[in-house]
């Protein structure tokens, strides 16, 4: 208790000491889409209003090709930013182990974060040898089937309520010249197998494969169903009908030129900005309409250790930002715009839209570990390569796919 009091005093001292003059704090992230930028602006607003410091925004488009090399090399090169966003998961585990990240334990000690984090598993990737090195700021889930109200109006059918009904509607959609499944080229494919796995295969299968890395689970009949669903999907999509970005798929859904899409909940942010209303213009089905649990991932903030001799005011600003990011006000404002779920249980979400409310209900059942959490970036990259190849090349049979996936899982770390 005594320790707690000291820490609390220190924390207040941080907040008090910097009001004298403002400093710049550089924050890197790859939130550059319209919805994402609007969301990150909410963080910046709260930070600047409460501390008087300046949020220097360094956005870099493209997580893998644009931002990642820059963020990692800058941290390694000794020119770190004040804070950086990365995916919640194991992408930065080595940076933490190498001692390049600031330990946040003392900074948030008085906040009792254990009491309000939705799911303790979220913090797992941030913990290392008793320290706390990152703060998840939201929960994103891939597990959504988005359906276009306009498309189903055109063919005169009710909007499906689960995956099976959706698949059954494909012939009618194709007859009407509507794309059954809208898809953006590139990375959006990567999330789809995981969603099918959770929705069709169920929670047990996800745990066996992602957590236990059991190759036999990949060879099981349950996973075969998943692979077959993926096979069905690749047959109704073609590179020709793919659009450049996932936001374009959102537009297709609103226009009714595509009937459905599997994509993460951040699509909601773009649908919202494009003027779509959930329940009217589009429908969202968590876990493909079957699942009772969502696979959780999301974004976390890391605070790199700043070089010796850095102005104390900047270090204080880092600490302030860390506390603000998980504060109720910032959490609410940010997540409402981002379309993600807040990491706090104690905030009023009555303003949430229909989709987010569904997600909040499912959160009570706990989160399933997503690939980001349980698989190394290396394994994820291998799975991604395989999925991309399978999706584009129909000469790869379902059996080949299962076997190759099982081999990767067998060697996964």
């Amino acid at each position: 208790m005594k320790k707690f009091a000291v820490v609390a005093a220190m924390a207040t001292a941080f907040l008090g000491s910097t009001s004298a003059y403002a400093v710049d704090l550089e924050v890197t992230h790859w939130w550059t889409s319209a919805g994402e930028a609007a969301a990150v602006a909410e963080f910046a607003k709260v930070f600047e209003a409460e501390t008087g410091n300046k949020w220097v925004d360094s956005a870099l488009a493209g997580s893998g090709t644009g931002a990642n090399p820059v963020i990692i090399s800058r941290i390694i090169g000794g020119n770190p930013m004040g804070a950086t966003m990365m995916n919640t998961g194991r992408d930065a585990e080595e940076l933490i182990q190498a001692g390049l990240m600031r330990d946040l334990t003392d900074i948030v000690a008085d906040l009792d974060i254990d009491s309000f984090y939705v799911d303790q598993d979220l913090l797992e990737p941030c913990r290392y040898e008793g320290g706390l090195y990152c703060l998840p700021v939201n929960i994103h889930s891939w597990d959504w089937l988005w359906l276009s109200a306009a498309a189903y109006e055109k063919i005169g059918q009710p909007v499906p309520t689960n995956w099976d009904e959706y698949v059954a509607s494909w012939p009618a959609l194709q007859e009407a010249g509507i794309l059954p499944f809208g898809l953006a080229s590139g990375w959006p494919i990567n999330g789809i197998p995981g969603v099918l796995m959770a929705g069709i295969g169920g929670s047990d299968l996800v745990l066996k494969i992602n957590r236990d890395k059991d190759p036999e689970a990949v060879r099981s009949p349950e996973f075969r169903k998943v692979a077959e669903a993926l096979d069905a999907l690749r047959k109704v999509t073609s590179p020709e009908t793919m659009v450049p970005s996932f936001g374009d798929v959102g537009n297709q859904l609103l226009e009714g030129t595509a009937a459905g899409n599997i994509h993460g909940d951040w699509l909601a942010g773009d649908l919202q900005i494009a003027g779509g209303v959930p329940g009217e213009d589009y429908e969202c089905l968590p876990g493909l309409g079957f699942g009772t649990q969502l696979t959780g991932g999301g974004d976390s903030f890391y605070f790199p250790k700043l070089p010796e001799g850095t102005d104390q005011a900047v270090l204080d600003a880092q600490a302030q930002l860390a506390r603000i990011l998980i504060s109720p006000e910032a959490q609410l404002n940010f997540n409402m715009v981002k379309g993600s779920m807040p990491i706090r249980t104690d905030i009023d979400l009555s303003g949430a839209n229909a989709c987010m409310k569904k997600a909040i209900d499912l959160l009570g059942n706990g989160l399933l570990p997503s690939g980001d959490f349980s698989l190394s970036s290396d394994t994820q990259q291998q799975l991604q390569d395989l999925d991309l190849e399978f999706f584009a090349d129909e000469s790869i049979t379902v059996d080949d796919y299962i076997e190759r996936r099982a081999e990767i899982v067998a060697q996964a770390d």
């Binding site: 644009g66 090169g77 936001g247």
Partner: protein, 308 residues
């Protein structure tokens, strides 16, 4: 120079084959028509993307979505140019490309000067002051030009960190000097080798040293090759994305970084007109350099690259 003799056959002299004859000829010979139509065909291939970029940048979004890629804009609309230059957003900052433009200038000017100066000295030393192993160093240098940049990123971050310049302009200047060195050195070496060696020897006899000969004899004769080097470096450095973003530091992010952000952001509705305007704006500096220096550039290439 003697190979023509061996090619000499007993074929009769043919009047039809007189390509380089200085005499004026009627313009519309079948041969001319073929030459010009081929050249025009290729010119269309080269010009079409430029047309698409410029035309699209003047269009409005509905025009783009519903119109043809070949169509001229209905009216000249500068909105997207203004937006690309001054208000397009990168995350939270909505200052367009303008700040990046000045950062790119800050990076390009010193990097170009330093890299060319060093490469010129290399070429000069390789030709006129050979030392043991100098050709070997040169061979490795050429080999180095084949190594993908990205492979070197990690060790270079470590090197610049140890030198204490990571994240500063010095680092990016160093990196551009290193990666410009192989091809520039090749050009300068070839160029200096093509200069009459008598001048150099005469200067040596007069007792002039390494630097004096370089500054007083070699440099004044090297304008054409300097123009080639300038063009290669200005375009190369201006167009660089990776090194600028990684090494130059937060306050010096080049224009290409903002271009990348503008065009690669997964915006709900991609604004192709703004993208294209931004693209043309970013390419403008190297383009102007080319258009202005066309003749000199060709002369320089001719002088530098021909002699091997």
């Amino acid at each position: 120079m003697t190979m023509t003799a061996s090619m000499t056959g007993s074929a009769p002299v043919s009047q039809a084959n007189e390509p380089r004859g200085p005499r004026p000829k009627p313009f519309f010979t079948p041969k001319k028509i073929m030459i010009y139509s081929t050249l025009i065909f290729f010119s269309l291939y080269f010009l079409f993307p430029l047309y698409v970029m410029v035309a699209t940048s003047f269009k409005t979004m509905p025009e783009i979505r519903f119109g043809s890629i070949f169509a001229l804009p209905n009216q000249i609309n500068f909105d997207s140019w203004v937006r690309a230059w001054s208000t397009a957003c990168t995350g939270l900052t909505c200052n367009g490309l303008a700040p990046g433009f000045w950062n790119s200038v800050k990076i390009t000017v010193p990097s170009t000067i330093v890299s060319i100066f060093i490469a010129a000295i290399n070429g000069y030393a390789l030709v006129n002051w050979r030392f043991k192993g100098s050709e070997l160093f040169f061979a490795v240098l050429i080999f180095g030009s084949f190594i993908p940049y990205q492979v070197m990123l990690y060790p270079l971050v470590m090197i610049t960190r140890e030198l204490g310049i990571f994240g500063k302009l010095e680092a990016v200047i160093l990196i551009h000097t290193i990666f410009g060195m192989p091809i520039l050195t090749l050009l300068f070496r070839n160029y200096f080798a093509s200069l009459p060696q008598e001048l150099f020897k005469a200067a040596r006899v007069d007792g002039a040293g390494f630097w004096r000969i370089f500054f007083e004899i070699m440099l004044p004769m090297s304008l054409p090759i300097f123009v080639v080097a300038l063009i290669l470096q200005i375009t190369g450095i201006w167009n660089d994305f990776l090194f600028g973003a990684v090494f130059a530091g937060t306050h010096n992010q080049p224009m290409t970084v903002q271009l990348n952000n503008i065009v690669n952001s997964a915006q709900g509705t991609p604004e192709y007109n703004v993208n294209m305007a931004a693209t043309v704006l970013t390419g403008l500096v190297p383009l102007i350099v080319y258009f202005v220096s066309g003749k000199l550039f060709v002369r320089g290439v001719a002088a530098g690259a021909v002699k091997g």
